[in-house]
Symmetry: C2
Subunit: 132 residues, 2 copies
């Protein structure tokens, strides 16, 4: 497995935890050593692990589950930092997301997520779907 | 000047170039060695320096200039990678942005920008304005 594959696997684990409302897995995925941020669609930036994980706890314990699929995921490496850009398909529409990771104890841990509405669509064939 | 100050200065240079439609400065600010990405509001991700700089050339040569101010800018360091989250005030409304930088030849160069609409506002006092 290349380092890019490892980053993409961490990214898919994020969407698996998100779609299956697995808060322990989501909590384990986010860094404990590096600064942690998150920008949910329409929200101001959340800063710090406590605020970010509380937001995920609220989202994942919502009685109305979020159907989310990730596709067109691409990873970019910057030494021990990595960025994934991807698109998300939800019941409400399509989003475009940036997910950021740091290499921590040999594992890629999440440090930032920003998702925002996608208005223009790419002129491409049907996207490759990932994660359900 | 601390490293965080240097990152915030690079971030302000981005908004200065943006607001003053200074394409050469914008072009100089973005990395030439690292992978470059950009997600404009509502757009899919642009990947690669050529596509990203072409988008900025189009935006900055638009006859209708963009009035943009950056505020609440906060920098986070991850070794030779840095993330700034900030809010943007434009004529059309408020956005929340993530700007990413790598240390390249002793200078912080931009590698990613994602801006998206801000719906919820923070419960804070009037934000500190930066850059006009």
């Amino acid at each position: 497995m290349t380092e890019k594959d490892a980053v993409l696997a961490a990214n898919l684990e994020f969407y698996r935890a998100f779609a299956s409302r697995d808060f322990p897995a989501m909590n384990a995925l986010w860094s404990r050593a590096a600064p942690v941020l998150c920008i949910h669609p329409g929200w101001p930036a959340l800063n710090g692990r406590e605020a970010v994980m509380q937001s995920w706890r609220n989202i994942l314990t919502n009685p109305e589950p979020t159907r989310v699929m990730c596709y067109d995921d691409q990873a970019f490496l910057y030494g021990e930092f990595a960025v994934v850009v991807c698109e998300e398909e939800l019941a409400e529409g399509h989003l475009v997301a940036t997910n950021m990771f740091v290499l921590e104890g040999g594992k890629w841990r999440m440090v930032h997520h920003q998702a925002s509405p996608l208005v223009a669509r790419r002129q491409t064939a049907r996207p490759q779907r990932r994660n359900r």
